[in-house]
Amino acid sequence: MATIVRKMIPSRDIFFIFLKPCARAKYAYISKTGGMLKYGLKLLREIREEWWPKVKAENPHDLMRAAEVRNIMTVAEIHMAASLFRTESVPYGRHFLHRLDYPTQHPTWYRQRVVIKNEDGEMRLYKTETVEQRPPTREDYEAVKEIKP
């Protein structure tokens, strides 16, 4: 963590300088658009590639803040990539997502879920179908009763 780079930034400043104003609060707020999300992702990756190697930690307190910021960056990137991948709006009550460029629900996303995997250090997004969710019927209860003594 503590490496010698030409221009060091204290790790506790990076959150307030870069992350908080630019990434989550501005480009992935309640109402999202594709362009905003793309620009936010670009900014976030820029921060990770350009500024993250320059962060220094002078003591364990700063190291803890740096680790927190790294985790926040990962979570923000996952959040924005998933919002960009799902091209529909989902109403409040299921999983809330309001995209201004796709203002309605879409049948191709019916019972579909976004799954994100880390494959060789790259983030891959998949669309997977969920199982049908229904309340148990009388037959289900009776099947359980038969198994039990």
Binding site: N59, P60, H61, M64
Partner: protein, 66 residues
């Protein structure tokens, strides 16, 4: 701020500075007295308050603590 000092009672024995397990108390070399450098990392173990020989240290439990 969870930990507060009464500097009139403090006899500068450095017990709080030596014993704090989270290392939140730092020593001000210019003023020659302890101060709380990382107040948000206090785990409320009360070691500083218990071990202070002159009772100059006071730890308050914040209202937002659950």
């Amino acid at each position: 701020m969870t930990a507060t000092f009464d500097y009139e009672k403090c006899n500068k024995c450095k017990q709080c500075y030596k014993l704090c397990p989270m290392d939140i108390i730092a020593w001000d070399e210019g003023e020659d007295r302890p101060y709380v450098k990382y107040p948000d990392e206090c785990q409320l173990c009360f070691i500083c308050q218990v071990e202070c020989p002159t009772k100059a240290m006071k730890v308050k439990i914040p209202l937002a603590f659950w």
